[in-house]
């Protein structure tokens, strides 16, 4: 009996020894190098992200079976990736983290198979998937097997899309084909000086095009958060990044069959007063995020893609404890115009909310589309159409509040009644018209102005005339395009009511295999 106990102990000790070796990743020296760059090691990242003590690792002992280029003699701990399950705020998640200390986190076939296994698990168990990317790219020694691995990941990213939340965290290089996994996921997180994403790097660009650029300026965190729009959340440190991920998870449901978790309702903070935020003159700016803060619980607005296309604001907040997605024109930047980037940004967010049962509140105050050769050549027709498409297609509760300007094509695009908004409200300051009074008067009364004795005087008079007649919410209200003209301070109460009465909304769409949006 004693002998048996000894044997048991011996075997357990062997397990612990094996675990220790594998868990050390690329070893102390490599870990120190990683930390010297301001980066945590893969294992520390997972532990920092998950609830304490909740991480269960799988496939720790997986090994590659590559034989070419001396690979047969190479031991790669966990094949360069850590996978497992754990909880965040008590809710289960699947997670993987590439380990840069093991062969540069390069992706071989076994590495990819570990990732796809945890992805399949996430889909089957209907829980979020968080991928931490820190990899030099394909493991060249494994050749086409490595490419096959990427393909298997991309395919699963696509299958999982719209069923479970997929979050990509870029904490190191993510270059070449590897970038397409994050690009296929819902939210991409980047950290200053740490994240690097590009299809072709600075060296290749220099060799082919003779253009010189630093890695940071080509594909650094700020570039993707501000210019390309590939990243949705930007932070200064890994810790801040993990806090952002955890906060995001409080606003979204665990899968597309659920609603986001409800929190105890809280009133907005008293310092945000709508009537003090918005100037009545439609030409004056204000920060629409403060209007949102005046509406949502505890004035807690969690913005998505803050730096990209700042002329439109998107993000999550709660009304009476329930998650709501906000889409709002931002008069603070470019007067809140719609353009290629802002349409693209809003359209994607609308589709996200629709996929995950999150009601959409649209706050409208925009003068129209941005004119310009750049815009036309970049395809503002196609990009602008994305927003019309996303709103028309969405069947979650959709509520619009027109704060001030709602001019022209933008009026239609911003979740108008005509695209099947469930409720459209307008403040008394709303101006719903084909264009602003100045432009409209100059066209309609061109002759009168030209032939007048004092054209400037006549122009002013005609602008006033137009303002009086059309620059208000009452023409649209008289046709039933607006359901109610409301006092601005009652906005939260009316949104709360609208969401409550929409809780059993059922709206169908014609049966189809899938839609063909203007990608």
């Amino acid at each position: 009996m004693k002998e048996e106990q000894n044997l048991f102990k011996q075997k357990t000790e062997e397990l612990q020894k094996r675990k220790e070796i594998a868990e050390a990743g690329g070893g102390q020296e490599a870990a120190a190098k990683q930390e010297a760059k301001g980066k945590m090691t893969a294992r520390k990242r997972i532990l920092a992200l998950l609830d304490e003590g909740s991480f269960q690792e799988y496939d720790l002992f997986v090994q590659h079976d590559a034989r070419d280029f001396d690979m047969a003699n190479k031991f790669l701990a966990g094949d360069g990736v850590i996978t497992g399950t754990g909880t965040i705020y008590g809710q289960p998640v699947c997670v993987y983290a590439q380990d840069f200390t093991v062969e540069g986190g390069s992706l071989g076939f076994a590495h990819a198979r570990k990732i796809t296994k945890i992805m399949d698990h996430a889909l089957k168990m209907r829980m979020p998937l968080i991928g931490i990317n820190d990899s030099g790219g394909a493991r060249i020694q494994e050749g086409v097997n490595s490419l096959a691995g990427y393909g298997e990941i991309f395919f699963r990213n696509t299958l999982n899309s719209g069923v479970i939340p997929q979050i990509s965290v870029i904490l190191g290089p993510c270059a070449g084909g590897a970038v397409y996994s994050p690009a296929l996921t819902d939210f991409v997180f980047v950290v200053e000086n740490i994240s690097k994403m590009f299809i072709t790097g600075p060296e290749v660009i220099k060799a082919v095009l003779g253009e010189e650029i630093s890695m940071e300026d080509l594909g650094g965190a700020r570039v993707h958060a501000e210019i390309s729009g590939n990243a949705h959340f930007y932070s200064k440190s890994e810790k801040e990044c993990f806090d952002q991920i955890k906060k995001l998870l409080t606003f979204i449901p665990w899968n597309n069959g659920q609603k986001a978790r409800a929190f105890p309702p809280k009133p907005p903070k008293p310092e945000y007063k709508i009537e003090e935020i918005v100037p009545a003159d439609p030409r004056q700016h204000y920060d629409v995020r403060n209007v949102i803060r005046a509406i949502v619980d505890d004035s807690d607005f969690f913005e998505v893609s803050e730096l990209f296309a700042p002329n439109i604001v998107i993000g999550f907040g709660r009304i009476n404890g329930e998650t709501v997605g906000f889409v709002a024109n931002q008069p603070l930047v470019l007067a809140g115009v719609l353009d290629c980037d802002s349409s693209d940004k809003a359209a994607r967010f609308i589709r996200y909310c629709d996929s995950f049962n999150i009601p959409i509140v649209t706050l409208e105050d925009m003068p129209g589309y941005l004119p310009g050769i750049d815009q036309e050549h970049m395809g503002v027709i196609r990009h602008g159409a994305k927003m019309l498409y996303a709103y028309s297609e969405a069947t979650v509760p959709k509520i619009t509040v027109i704060l001030r300007k709602a001019y022209g094509g933008g009026y239609i695009a911003m979740n108008s009644r005509h695209l099947r908004s469930d409720f459209v409200f307008a403040w008394p300051t709303a101006e719903i018209a084909v264009m602003g009074p100045e432009g409209a008067a100059n066209i309609i009364f061109r002759k009168e102005i030209q032939t007048a004795e004092n054209p400037e005087e006549m122009r002013k008079q005609k602008i006033e005339e137009y303002k009086e007649k059309f620059a208000n919410p009452y023409v649209a209200a008289s046709k039933g395009y607006i359901d109610a003209v409301i006092e601005p301070e009652k906005t939260r109460a009316i949104l709360l009511h609208s969401i409550e009465v929409s809780s059993n909304k059922t709206e169908g769409r014609p049966k189809k295999k899938h839609c063909i949006p203007p990608f």
């Binding site: 082919v208 095009l209 003779g210 253009e211 501000e226 210019i227 030409r283 004056q284 700016h285 296309a309 700042p310 002329n311 008069p331 603070l332 930047v333 470019l334 007067a335 809140g336 115009v337 980037d341 003068p367 129209g368 941005l370 004119p371 310009g372 050769i373 750049d374 001019y407 264009m435 602003g436 009074p437 100045e438 432009g439 409209a440 100059n442």
Partner: protein
């Protein structure tokens, strides 16, 4: 306070002046350059291989005026117009970067057209 005011600019749209910020991306926009078929610039960086024309030579629309090696391929530049070569800014073997000026052309006289 002054700095605060500098942030905001007037932005004209449909004859209305809006007071607003301009986004960094918007400010980085480059002005559109009108295309001029008489000014020939490199559309890719590369190495000049041949220049089969001389200054003062009459050339026809579609005629090759230069070949160069770029992106591991041999590329040809052809004239979009009937013209005369006014000035050649390159020599064989030179490496050019994108948008380098290669040729200046000039329109033909009325009498030369037929």
């Amino acid at each position: 306070m002054e700095k605060e005011n500098q942030k905001y600019q007037t932005f004209l749209l449909d004859d209305t002046n809006y007071i607003t910020e301009l986004s960094p991306k918007y400010q980085r926009q480059k002005n559109y350059e009108l295309k001029n078929p008489f000014i020939i610039k490199a559309f890719l960086p590369g190495k000049i291989m041949t220049i089969p024309v001389k200054e003062g030579q009459k050339i026809r629309m579609g005629e090759t005026i230069c070949s160069f090696d770029a992106m591991k391929m041999e590329n040809y530049i052809t004239s979009q117009v009937n013209a005369r070569v006014k000035k050649i800014h390159i020599t064989v073997g030179r490496v050019v970067t994108k948008n380098d000026l290669l040729f200046e052309l000039e329109p033909l006289d009325e009498s030369e057209i037929h």
